[in-house]
């Protein structure tokens, strides 16, 4: 093959730059809450989030979907998760049937993709309680020592133990720990 001409390389580099720029824009645009909410089946999660303990962060800003559900800890990790979950969501939207939207079946996978790093971005100190206005309870401190490996080692990440922090499906509403969340949800969506 004859050596490529200079204008070929200029066009190739230009095309690569455009492709990278478009990809970066695409990744950002598909990580916004508005984009998630563009599919109607996602609205229920927003309704639940708005009355959950995670509706707003410590500064009063509303918490977006991607803050929990998209790993922020590395480019490859983030793009891999977005691709995997995005393709699944598109498929479920167009081809999915009722049983594909079974929340009890979806919960384990959703928890798998909620990274501990995303939780720790706000909850840095595990010896403080959730609102950071006091020490964590005795139960909590024992459980966190287990998470950190000081008394045994837990299999689960943050989302494995701290469930229903933002979303509350019907089958979890009777649990005593979710009573306040369930009451608020009933008001919001009678």
């Amino acid at each position: 093959m004859p050596p490529r001409s200079r204008s070929f390389w200029i066009m190739a580099v230009g095309l690569a730059v455009v492709a990278l720029g478009a990809s970066a824009y695409g990744v950002k645009a598909t990580s916004t809450t508005a984009f998630c909410m563009s599919c109607h089946e996602m609205k229920v999660y927003q309704t639940e989030l708005d009355v959950s303990p995670h509706a707003k962060d410590a500064k009063g800003n509303p918490i977006g979907c991607s803050q929990c559900h998209i790993p922020g800890a590395g480019l490859v990790r983030m793009v891999a998760a977005k691709t995997y979950l995005g393709v699944k969501d598109v498929w479920a939207h167009y081809e999915g049937k009722g049983e594909d939207l079974d929340r009890a079946a979806m919960q384990p996978m959703a928890r798998r993709f909620v990274d501990d790093a995303n939780c720790r971005a706000c909850h840095q100190d595990l010896t403080r309680n959730a609102k950071n206005d006091g020490a964590v309870s005795e139960t909590g401190s024992l459980a966190h020592e287990n998470y950190e490996g000081k008394n045994g080692i837990s299999r689960s990440g943050c989302a494995g133990c701290h469930r229903n922090m933002a979303h509350l499906p019907r089958f979890d509403r009777h649990l005593a720990a979710n009573a306040k969340f369930a009451a608020k949800l009933k008001e919001a969506r009678p």
């Binding site: 139960t139 024992l142 287990n146 689960s156």
Partner: protein, 169 residues
């Protein structure tokens, strides 16, 4: 003017990419490479997002603790231990290994994290049959009846009033 071709040798182009040897090899390589990339992607997702962080502590490393699950679990899983302790199964001393089996694999129950319906049925079969007949069931008991969380006196725990009394009279 070139003479019309005659004879058996065809001079037309190969009809598909697969019959042209050089292009076929390239097509195969590209397809194999794409398949490899897709496989690598799925493998990466499986490894980077494991469902569990690591295997829990090896229970068999402390054989002297074998019969006393609660002794460690009251510290390592305090919430579950407390729920069990205050619930019906704790008050009636249905011990951990009755539903969860034993880590050394002995006994009739296979060591498990989430006991299935057949384990509930070992004690509760009559009630389960009545439940199925009257209200139907959902395939797993714990979606309505959380295993560790039934207080013995039902609503007494839920509706208990706050009090500062320190004696019964």
């Amino acid at each position: 003017m070139t003479p019309e071709p005659t004879g058996p040798t065809p001079t037309s182009r190969p009809s598909s990419i697969l019959s042209h040897p050089l292009l076929r090899n390239r097509a195969v390589v590209v397809l194999a490479g794409a398949a490899l990339l897709v496989a690598a992607f799925f493998l990466y997702v499986r490894l980077a997002f494991p469902g569990v962080r690591c295997e829990a502590a090896k229970h068999l490393d402390a054989p002297e603790k074998m019969g006393d699950c609660y002794g460690c679990h009251v510290k390592s899983t305090p919430r579950v231990a407390q729920d069990w302790y205050e619930g019906k199964h704790g008050i009636t001393l249905v011990r951990c290994q009755t539903c969860h089996g034993q880590p050394d694999g002995k006994g009739a129950i296979a060591f498990n994290r989430s006991p299935g319906v057949e384990i509930c049925a070992r004690c509760h079969a009559p009630s389960m049959e009545r439940m199925e007949a009257k209200f139907g069931t959902r395939g797993n008991c714990s979606s309505c009846h959380p295993n560790h969380q039934n207080p013995m006196h039902g609503d007494a725990y839920v509706n208990r009033q706050a009090t500062t009394k320190t004696s019964l009279d």
